[in-house]
Symmetry: C2
Subunit: 252 residues, 2 copies
Amino acid sequence: MLSKNKIKFLNSLQNKKYRKQHQCFIAEGIKIVEELLHSSLICKEIYATAEWKENHPEIGKNYTEISEKELKAISQLQTPNQVLAVFKIPALSSWKSASKNELILALDKINDPGNLGTIMRIADWFGIEHVICSPESVDAFNPKTVQATMGAIARIKVHYTAFTVLLEWANEKNIQVYGTYLKGKDIFKENLQKPAVIVMGSESHGISEELEKLIPNRLTIPSYPPGIITSESLNISTATAIVCAEFRRQTW
Amino acid sequence: MLSKNKIKFLNSLQNKKYRKQHQCFIAEGIKIVEELLHSSLICKEIYATAEWKENHPEIGKNYTEISEKELKAISQLQTPNQVLAVFKIPALSSWKSASKNELILALDKINDPGNLGTIMRIADWFGIEHVICSPESVDAFNPKTVQATMGAIARIKVHYTAFTVLLEWANEKNIQVYGTYLKGKDIFKENLQKPAVIVMGSESHGISEELEKLIPNRLTIPSYPPGIITSESLNISTATAIVCAEFRRQTW
């Protein structure tokens, strides 16, 4: 049985303020919970239906059995899926510890939680460990983000920091800084280098103007046929996927 | 003022059956409606608030003014955005008319409407005019798909046909057939050819087994570092973006 207070607590974790206060976040559904249980994340609480428990005997007594109705009361999914778990938000070392031979993804004012999650999944695929968001961006432990990562939340480190600080650091350390623009050099024809910071702008506003002088390399994903732009732009996660793939292709 | 019957009609267009019966579909929000009004699509009805009308004097009297409350009653958006319009579903010529020098995208059992819309936007960016879905896939005129296309719905032709027919046709016409698999040849190291049909499998089930013998070229997007797979897979629209970009890079 779930107490009213427990339901209130779990629902409060939808909110960044309470996630920060309690230093924990929620993951839902068979697939993601299973992946996170096998990760380095620390699980604090599991709420599951009898059906889930049957398929996870290894859990022993470390869980709270709830009814479908109770699951509905704490779930944010349209179709609740057997299990909801609370994990500890892991401690983060500084992004400055990012290996010097690596790629760092920097997201300027990303505000859609699903897009951030999809981008974390892309970073995970391409072995990009550090994603840095500008301070006004959506929280990486937002439940919609967690769901969209499909488990990558356990591996990708998301930092929040002012981009002027990040880009000045990169310039000082001789780390290449690239930004994606609607008008830039054809990414497929450039000779891409790593280590690098790759800045992706927001879908509606692009990269903040005040950062332009800190971004020496302006890249574009060319549309086809050449010279004819039909769609206004690519979705931010689509563009990030193409850019990361091209960096990996060239700098394997 | 909207009659009850009109509200019922507009809401019925959320449903594929009624879209087919009336041969029309709905688009919502300032941006997409504006783009579609400037396209070759035929607009049948516009329902807009006074605010929208003020910014679109060129519309004249060809619209129905509605209140915010009425808009809410017909809108499927979480935040209704001034305007909802009904467009005619355009007639489709056969996919066999696809230019012989081109790329054709084939989506096997795609079921998420947002993913289909995002993929149509990607196809639009890369000048891929024809997208072919297997018959059990989601409808391209689903309102969520239309919204996700960001206007590409006006240009991309989406066909529904059995993949055995499509792939046998391609093999007969000496059009290359590629499929994406978790285990295949590194797409970045293959010498990609066009004309080509590129088959993308569904996120959860991949490409249907019965199609395998019709797909001679099996491609993979390599993960990094080499040999270590962390994320289970990429999202279907993410993978499609990377594959289309690589085809365009190589076969410009």
